[in-house]
């Protein structure tokens, strides 16, 4: 029986690995075939040299950074305050942060287009800068589950009350407590949330496409519809980016045990793509 179960386990593992590795290998092989006679990295050269690639990738990077900044500034004080002063409110806040997993992104952006159209009170889709802002807020909404869970797990691992009281005794005011005491103590939780957010935002398609912004996701889709070899090169690049952000979570996550269980919960993503779970590595 013992050897039997091992054969089964090995079979499952090998078949599983084949399913996961063959598409990657096939994509990589395809991306090298741009030159007719031999393998080359031409497709990558073409892609990386494409000004639209640089522009859209830069745009999405900027959106990701802004999303992380806004998300952290919104979530950290809230999660901290709820833990310290309003514990009764915690289920409510948690429920709200889970809603973006329940409501599909395409529905959320549909609502934006109706509420913030150019004839509304707050015409955020009226000009490009305002639409960028709406896109950032949309991304903050999409990443709320991941960010809140990571940060809250970080807060759970430190004694928020004692830290706050100690800081108060030493005469610190609220901004000092928040930025000089709380932030550094939950750094690993914030970083996990930040990298998860980054992975969500960088290739996001639905919001960017429907809000008509020149982001990386719509660019990928456009290239996919019109070119042969470049898409595979782009897919490999995207995979490397995903791998990098998940790797960074592991690095920062294992520095402190904090963000682990939470990121696994945050895995619960019906947002279609980037359901994420990264840090669930070692239980």
């Amino acid at each position: 029986m013992k050897s039997q179960s091992r054969v089964g386990a090995w079979t499952a593992m090998v078949v599983g690995s084949l399913y996961f590795l063959i598409p990657l290998a096939a994509t990589f092989e395809f991306s090298l075939r741009m030159r007719r006679d031999s393998y080359s990295f031409d497709a990558y050269r073409v892609v990386l040299g494409d000004p639209r690639f640089q522009a859209s990738f830069g745009y999405s990077m900027l959106m990701a950074v802004l999303t992380i900044v806004v998300g952290v500034l919104l979530v950290v004080p809230t999660a901290y305050w709820v833990r310290l002063r309003l514990p009764k409110l915690r289920p409510v806040v948690e429920f709200i942060t889970l809603l973006p997993l329940v409501i599909p992104a395409i529905v959320i952006v549909f609502g934006y287009l109706r509420i913030y159209n150019s004839s509304s009170i707050l015409p955020l889709t009226g000009n490009e800068r305002a639409t960028d802002l709406l896109l950032v807020f949309g991304y903050v909404t999409l990443s709320l589950p991941y960010m809140y869970r990571s940060v809250d797990a970080g807060l759970a691992s430190v004694d928020v009350r004692s830290l706050t009281e100690a800081a108060e005794c030493l005469g610190a005011n609220w901004p000092t407590i928040l930025f000089k005491v709380i932030f550094p103590n939950i750094r690993s939780g914030i970083l996990s949330g930040a990298f998860l957010t980054f992975a969500v935002v960088i290739g996001e398609f639905t919001l960017a496409s429907l809000l008509d912004r020149p982001a990386f996701g719509p660019y990928l889709q456009l290239i996919g519809a019109n070119r042969a070899y470049e898409p595979s090169a782009l897919a490999i690049i995207a995979f490397v980016i995903t791998w990098a952000s998940m790797g960074l979570i592991q690095v920062f996550g294992s520095a402190r045990g904090s963000a682990r269980g939470s990121a696994r919960d945050a895995a619960s993503g019906p947002t279609g793509g980037p359901a994420s779970a990264a840090a669930g590595s070692k239980p």
Binding site: K2, A9, V109, V140, T141, L220
Partner: protein
Amino acid sequence: MTASSDIGSAEPQLLVPPVPTPTPQVRGPQESSQFLTWLGVAPFFLFALLFLILPTGFLMVGAFQDSHGHFTLANFRDLFQPGVLEAYWISFKVSAASAIGGAVIGSLLAWAAVQGRLPGWIRPTLMTFSGVASNFAGVPLAFAFICTLGRVGLVTVLLKKYVGLNLYSTGFSILSFTGLTVTYLYFQIPLMVLIVTPALDGLKREWREACDCLGGTSLQYWRYVALPVLWPSVLGATLLLFANSFGAVATAYALTGSSLNIVTILLYAQIRGDVLHNQNLGYALALGMILVTGLSNGGYIWLRARAERGRR
């Protein structure tokens, strides 16, 4: 709060009657701190209201209105027209197939890694890879599967060359229901692995030993011990996977363009150009999606709570 400040203000008056003004001084700071306490969460609630609740609420209300703003249920009746119903049905089939497939294969993989007595490096490798692969979705995933199982994809070509099997003459297409399901499995399986591994960890070795000692067979162990403990976690995770693929847009859109009529792609087209020729029907379509994903997520949360209680 008012009671305590009343006592606070009464006491000084009792002891030192001639001083008339301590009342506002005592009440002031307390009231403002209470106010400040709520102010601390105000930005979050304002944000949630503006960018999550109001937009969704607008669609929900719109789903119950006709084009003049009068209450009606006609939009829901119109959801049953052939094109829309078919879209829901295909979405349902793809989601169910990829959820069940992902749940079965993911559980097997997780079981192999946790209980399969494999070398120690396998488990952390699987978990890390699952973290990456469950995030590798959207447009790039579609590209990867076109390179693999598309008409000139590596696997298609190799099968034709060495096995003599022409995939596309069997009726398979990466742009079809089967193709989309196989593609979705690429993020569904890893997600299942990540969710179900902790549950498998909860199966204690002693239970298996106790079962063996009492003369139980492997089948009996699974039938009477392991499955009763595991099923809420596994079923809950399956519901989560279902919702996960039901709301997915980018992968399907990049893979099939608009050739496969699933509900997210229909909604995408509706937002772009009102293909249904009825704005309010579009809202009903969106509300229908929320209902489906909401129910399956609700089921997941309920089953997870149940599983956690069972583990204690």
